[in-house]
Symmetry: C2
Subunit: 254 residues, 2 copies
């Protein structure tokens, strides 16, 4: 397996008894051939009809395999021309917040600490962000998220306050945050916009996160919308980038 196989015509077979479905196996075989250099960037893969014959699968199965490779950024297809190996490029690089979410799934180690929750009057900025009148009441919340007893994320948020829905103090803690992170189905938000920025810890945030003032940190700003497409929550998370790693890979990995 470690030796390079530069002859793509000598191909492995699909194991029909394997648990892994045929399309995934085929995708894996092709990805391996690309990774080994059997097909270089820019080169054309065998036609789908050829792959059907070589691996004894139906066109739909080949199609699914190729689509997988497209999703993985390994190849691209041009109708009427063929399937070509893609070179590495930045467009396909993406970072996701899986680690962020994983943190919250671990309910033993992760605790949400409430710093503040009160109803205040919206200032101009809040009013603009969640599309209400200045002076209208909003719920202002500040939370600290602890992992293993150490503070790792600071969060502050201004939420639309609906007087028709009286709020029990205990409910606040569950609102939004746990629903968003737990991966369960408790969220009442339909969609959101997020923006990632660099920032510098002010004195208060530094103190809360037990960092030095003026340390660099990441700021994840959010606006969430309800099912009527009304913006209902604006706020941001602040966390040290060395604690919440945002790493990813690109290209073809084993």
């Amino acid at each position: 397996m470690s030796a390079l196989n530069r002859n793509p015509d000598v191909h492995k077979k699909i194991d029909r008894s394997a648990y892994e479905p045929a399309y995934a196996q085929l995708a894996g075989i092709l990805r391996e051939q690309v990774a080994s250099g059997a097909y270089q960037p820019g080169q054309k893969l065998p036609s789908e009809a050829t792959l059907c014959r070589n691996y004894d699968v139906s066109p739909m199965t080949v199609r699914r395999a190729v689509n997988l490779l497209i999703d993985q950024g390994v190849v691209r297809t041009i109708q009427g021309k063929g399937t070509f190996v893609k070179a590495l490029n930045f467009g396909s690089i993406s970072f996701n917040l899986r680690h962020f979410q994983d943190l919250f799934k671990d309910k033993k180690r992760t605790k949400i600490r409430f710093l503040e929750a009160r109803i205040i009057r919206a200032d101009a900025q809040v009013a603009r962000k969640i599309d209400i009148q200045v002076g209208q009441r909003v719920i202002f919340m500040r939370r600290l998220i602890d992992s293993d007893g150490e503070p790792v994320i600071y969060h502050q948020e201004s939420m639309l306050y609906d007087p028709k829905l009286p709020i029990v103090e205990g409910e606040l803690e569950l609102t939004s945050l746990h629903g968003l992170f737990s991966g369960g189905n408790e969220s009442s938000f339909k969609k959101g916009k997020l923006e990632l920025k660099a920032t510098i810890l002010d004195r208060e945030a530094a103190h809360l996160l037990k960092c030095a003032e003026a340390d660099p940190a990441l700021k994840l700003e959010h606006i969430f919308y309800d099912f009527k497409d009304r913006p209902v929550s604006w706020g941001w998370f602040i966390f040290r980038s060395d604690l919440q790693e945002l790493s990813t890979t690109v290209g073809i990995w084993g």
Copy 2:
């Protein structure tokens, strides 16, 4: 179209004459129904067999539509149970570097300025990162990327130096950067690891990027590997987060 349709049984039909394929149309219809609240988070969608009948398409077409919705984070499927509407959660949030890449595609507005390129001896850190001996020669490069004449990204990189491949001065400029960003097939890298961090501009970087010293910025650190899986390049990009926006959306839009 603006009125909510809370009865999912009164459904739109697939337009077979449309350019948009049937599976995409079906996915769009279902997504719209979820967005309108006809199916709430946690609720079960009609079975695939039912969808086949309702929309008069084959099982494979329904399957593709459902798979699309899964990719978009709208639903999730549980074998033997059904297809369920997903609630918003952070796990599916991802940021990509499309804007980063777009910048480089625009070759009229974007210029790469070379600050420095010379062959130096690897120090301990570089040696560790690209897996060579301390003291071995590496190509050290510093670049500034201008957009519309204004500096927006600073880049520095240490590359493996292969004495067997003599380097023409002019080639350096094309190396890696243009291949990576242009989206063409010029890259000679097979894969890479990237990490996004917050940082603070030091005096030099601030000066080059025409910012104030100690301004916050994003640092995108990278290691790239060649087709033999050897690490060949280590370095980082530094850019102001307000110039290179890293924004994204989550949930169900339109």
